[in-house]
Subunit: 239 residues, 2 copies
DNA sequence: TCTGCGAAGATTGCATCCAATCTTGCATTC
DNA sequence: GAATGCAAGATTGGATGCAATCTTCGCAGA
């Protein structure tokens, strides 16, 4: 809440990531400035920043639209994320996990396991599971102590429309498998097994990506049409 | 040359990457707008973008400074780059290299080899070698067909002050070794050996990073002081 | 001499106005 | 009827003025 520009960046980023602005949607400076009660100046700054972050596409003199991701794009994102998180896991394993993160992950695993034994699997529990999953991954790559790596992973984790649909169709078996992955990964890291940790993390993220793509396809027309890149301006009529 | 803002972004980015603005240097909006003959508006937009790209540090109400990278930071950047370029190499090897890039790399290797047989090793040849090296790497990760991966590698390859000092102290033996790495990597990719290609690329980039860090340290006081992070504002006096 | 306070100067943040470009719709022409 | 050209509206790009914040420098006091 430092400057208005930063506030607008946060507000718009959340809306884009939550799908409030769907992929392909056009972002109008005046509408946004009215809805957020600021002038166009901080809005324009925020749009430029979000475009640089990769959340928006920008065409000069035309405007900004929420970037659309095809199935191939998503596969590419997860391919990159898998090697990055693999590197993070290896790094933590080889340099030694910090006591703080060891305790955090231990607690995280216990809470996740408890969650899996719940009977009524409501949306609230799903959200809680998503939070724990995020906490687990973030704790690891933060403990790698590599600022650049953290930035790259962060960029790979914030993609329009992924956040909202990410863990929506997961059945209990999938969640249990994910928990098992986490437990093994923690074991490898805690025991300094760098190569094992790297491979486990890579495979874990890879599987997550594959499930996401499968759900993406299963979502059918909605997801497909929303993910289809829509041109900002009409193509020129002259051939 | 579409909008002034984009022109300013390019101009400032080049200056930062070439070291014209040294790490830790403060960027004044008015000075820049005067030197580039534009108003503060496009300059402000450009500064925000470059900060988002990671080239500048930003402190609200204080301004922008060229981001400084410690030796640990550089090691981290190269660690990330190595796994990313490893992934790119594996991807190209497994999906099959395109004819265009196969020809390009073939030509690139021939030109590099010819360069190594030159007798008078002038600065011009050094620059030429740097260009060929860049072309080689870029051709590979571009051929992977992963937009996100390309963006991440691009971000890892544009770091303040690296461009200028990158290949300045390399002796002929080092360059020959690098050429040999490239040749082997091309062989692995062209023969569809994904794992081998990945490992070769990782090691190649890792070695490049290690050499850079060694030169960085050897540069001694200059590099060290330039790389030392300088606080933007005075620390608050009250404890 | 050093520390803390305060006022003046400098710099950034934001709002608003104008210019440039694009988009849209209609009329005209083939 | 379809395509082209033109004009009006809408939207973005840039410049400028003012407010808010920070920085710097000097001064008073311990």
């Amino acid at each position: 809440m430092s400057t208005r520009g930063q506030s607008v960046v946060r507000a718009l980023r959340d809306k884009v990531l939550d799908g409030e602005y769907a992929p392909g949607a056009r972002l109008n400076e005046i509408e946004i400035s009215n809805s957020l009660n600021v002038s166009r100046t901080p809005v324009r700054a925020a749009l430029a920043i979000l475009a640089t972050e990769g959340l928006l596409d920008y065409v000069p003199n035309s405007g900004y639209v929420v970037r659309s991701y095809s199935v191939q794009d998503i596969e590419g994102v997860y391919a990159a994320r898998s090697v990055l998180e693999g590197l993070a896991a290896r790094t933590v394993a080889e340099k030694g996990i910090s006591d703080r993160v060891r305790g955090l992950l231990h607690k995280n695993l216990a809470e996740t396991e408890a969650l899996l034994n719940e009977t009524d699997w409501s949306d609230r529990l799903r959200d809680e599971w998503g939070r724990l999953n995020e906490e687990f991954h973030e704790a690891i790559f933060a403990d790698a102590g590599n600022r650049h790596l953290s930035e790259l992973i962060g960029k790979s984790r914030s993609i329009p429309l992924l956040k909202g649909v990410k863990f929506r169709w997961h059945d209990l078996d999938t969640l249990a498998a994910s928990y098992s992955d986490h437990a093994e990964l923690f074991d490898a890291i805690a025991n300094g097994q760098g190569t094992r940790a790297e491979h486990l993390a890579r495979e874990h993220v890879y599987q997550a990506g594959r499930r996401l793509v499968a759900n993406w396809r299963r979502a059918g027309v909605d997801g497909a049409s929303a993910a289809t890149r829509r041109p900002i301006r009409k193509v020129s009529r002259a051939a």
